[in-house]
């Protein structure tokens, strides 16, 4: 470029023109999210839940046969059954290896004298993994199925819409109960089935987003630059369609945790002696009047976790909403 254009002079002018604040869309979303107190509370609870679950795994797992875990959720102490929260342990009636951590039952004991705190900790990990893995499976399925429908259209789309309608007609809880009854219960089976039966919402979202993205000029530009279908779907379209998917995934995690708790409550959950929140709730049901903490503790824990995920998810949805943004006309 040896020739100077008559445009190069004005280019200086254009450059010195104040441009919009150099914030990426992501930074802008984060700013909006921080203003939303409920959502930030949800996020804090979510992080706390995550930390507690991971800590729970380390505290309650028997890593070595000779060394019992710091907090053993399996230890039964019949003399100390149905103790109140914060009760001291009965040193005379129990052996040394039955002593709870710190000598105190922080959340009390259940009908077999098992420490509720360690059982809750063990169950937290189950809830966390079920939530994340099941939703991970469903989001992945939803993106692939919805993306195919939205991008290729025609009979693929017709088939996918039909499949979504059929899947939505089946009562999910009954289907899962049936499959677990035939297969037998198990943590991974639950994750798998919950994931396989909850992709429809995501698929609809992705399809709708793809339908509108497909007509955008930047997608046409990518095609005109010779980009392959796969490249267009994953590099050009998917990142633009991901925001609503993330939101529905966050809320979906809450749903999956609730579903798992429900299954455990009905006895179709993770097999004994592994503790889950739903099962603790079920065990406590029989002692509702003698030992109300047995139902209240897991109940409140489920409530808080589900609520915080929902609040965080809705905060995310608002933060990604371009109409709430400043400056850019979206």
């Amino acid at each position: 470029m040896s020739e100077a254009y008559d445009t190069t002079e004005t280019y200086e002018a254009e450059q010195s023109e104040p441009v919009l604040p150099a914030r990426t869309p992501l930074q802008e979303s984060w700013r909006l999210l921080r203003q939303n107190r409920l959502a930030m509370g949800g996020l804090v609870m979510f992080v706390l839940f995550f930390v507690i679950s991971v800590a729970g795994v380390f505290l309650t797992t028997e890593w070595h046969p000779q060394r019992p875990p710091l907090m053993n959720p399996r230890t039964t102490r019949l003399p100390d059954k149905l103790r109140r929260p914060l009760a001291r342990y009965n040193a005379e009636a129990l052996r040394d290896d039955q002593r709870p951590l710190g000598g105190i039952y922080v959340l009390g004991t259940d009908s077999l004298g098992r420490d509720v705190l360690s059982r809750m900790l063990q169950g937290a990990w189950v809830s966390l993994t079920v939530g994340f893995v099941a939703v991970g499976i469903s989001v992945l399925l939803g993106i692939v199925i919805g993306g195919m429908a939205g991008y290729w259209g025609k009979w693929v789309e017709m088939f996918v819409i039909w499949l979504i309608d059929v899947m939505l007609c089946i009562p999910r809880f009954i289907l899962i109960l049936t499959v677990l009854a035939l297969w037998g219960p198990g943590l991974f089976r639950i994750m798998f089935i919950v994931g396989l039966t909850s992709w429809m919402g995501t698929a609809r979202f992705v399809r709708a987003e793809f339908l509108s993205l497909r007509e955008q000029d930047f997608v046409t530009a990518a095609r005109s630059l010779g980009a392959s279908d796969i490249r267009i779907i994953f590099r050009h379209m998917l990142p633009n369609a991901l925001a609503p998917v993330l939101v529905s995934a966050t809320i979906g995690i809450a749903g999956a945790i609730l579903l798992e708790a429900g299954l455990s409550f009905l006895g179709f959950g993770v097999p004994e002696p592994h503790a889950t929140w739903g099962k603790i709730l079920d065990d406590g049901r029989k002692y509702l009047f003698d030992a109300p903490w047995l139902t209240f503790i897991p109940g409140v824990a489920i409530l808080i976790v589900v609520l915080s995920f929902n609040l965080f998810g809705e905060g995310l949805r608002d933060a990604f909403n371009p109409k709430l943004r400043e400056g850019e006309p979206a």
Partner: protein
């Protein structure tokens, strides 16, 4: 290859009908006749302007030529290669030579890509093996070519103004050194002062890199400035075609005359002699039989125009008109196949 007189891009009888589907079974109830029987010839290093009001099929024509929309009938030859029947690999190779610049500088840039990502996308598709540094250097060079600073590389499109964004779009189209660019109303979304800059830039690029343009616009004065030849479209038809100055100074088709009379004259004392067309553009779903312009035409002859379909005929050397009422000159020649 094109020195022997044949054009770089040769469009013959291009047609695109969009089906209108209704009901549960998605039966096709009608067609929108967006582009019908369009012939165009764009010479190497030349520029053909395509004008017409909105909805007349200009954009569809441009995209069908690039096969971004599959045409229903007709042929497109690029440097002798059949574009319409090209298979995947052949089409991919053709993509390097044929690019497009869009009207809307906002929706044409991916908001999640940096400018470097947008401009370098074609390079990453075709020249990935030449390495990251090469692509970065080339992007910087392209940004300088279109009058932007290479600092823009790592910024996002929303940080730029409309004119700057349009330059980014032009840099993207230039990345693969194309020989032909469809400019789809590249300036109609911009301020008048920026319009002139972008048009000058396009002209300079044409001179420097020897690119051929199909310049789509609805503004005849813009098109006249940049084009060698002008084609006027109305309701999917090309109604008049000829050298730019000849068409603008001496329009033959009644529609072209009306279009030209609508150009504002920058002098408050001159009272323009406007030809105001009656009625609206008929729907392209069910265009009028006979001549499509007939219902709004000042010079119509109901007996002929409403019944018979006119063909594009050469009435003077190099000038083609699709009208029953224009007297054919001495060099009459049937051009439609």
């Amino acid at each position: 290859m094109t020195d022997n007189g044949s054009p770089l891009v040769d469009v013959r009888g291009l047609r695109k009908y969009f089906p209108i589907k209704k009901g549960v079974l998605k039966w096709t109830v009608a067609h929108i006749q967006a582009v019908d029987d369009v012939d165009l010839a764009i010479p190497e290093r030349g520029c053909v302007g395509l004008v017409g009001e909105s909805g007349c099929g200009k954009t569809t024509t441009g995209r069908a030529i690039l096969r971004l929309i599959e045409p229903d009938a007709g042929d497109v030859f690029f440097d002798g290669i059949d574009v319409v029947n090209a298979d995947r690999d052949e089409l991919r190779r053709l993509r390097r030579d044929m690019q497009i610049i869009f009207q809307d500088p906002f929706s044409s840039l991916n908001p999640r890509f940096t400018v470097g990502g947008i401009v370098g996308e074609g390079l990453r598709v075709f020249e990935r093996d030449r390495g990251r540094q090469y692509i970065r250097d080339r992007v910087a060079e392209l940004l300088r070519t279109v009058g932007l600073s290479p600092d823009a590389t790592d910024r996002y499109p929303h940080e730029f103004s409309g004119g700057q964004r349009q330059r980014i779009g032009i840099a993207r189209a230039l990345a693969l050194n194309p020989r032909f660019i469809v400019c789809d109303e590249p300036v109609s979304a911009l301020d008048v002062s920026i319009q002139a800059q972008v048009i000058n830039l396009l002209e300079d690029l044409q001179e420097e890199f020897g690119i051929a343009y199909l310049f789509i616009a609805h503004d005849l004065s813009v098109v006249r400035h940049i084009s060698d030849e002008i084609a006027v479209m109305y309701l999917g038809w090309i109604v008049e075609r000829g050298p730019a100055d000849a068409v603008c100074d001496d329009p033959l088709h009644p529609y072209t005359k009306a279009l030209l009379s609508a150009i504002p004259i920058p002098d408050p004392h001159v009272k323009p002699d406007r030809i105001v067309l009656e009625g609206d553009v008929p729907t392209p779903v069910n265009p009028p039989p006979g001549c499509r312009f007939c219902p709004r035409c000042r010079d119509r002859d109901e007996a002929v125009c409403a019944v018979e379909v006119p063909t594009l005929q050469q009435v003077q050397p190099g000038r083609f008109v699709r009208c029953h009422r224009v007297e054919a000159g001495p060099a009459t020649e049937e051009t439609t196949p």
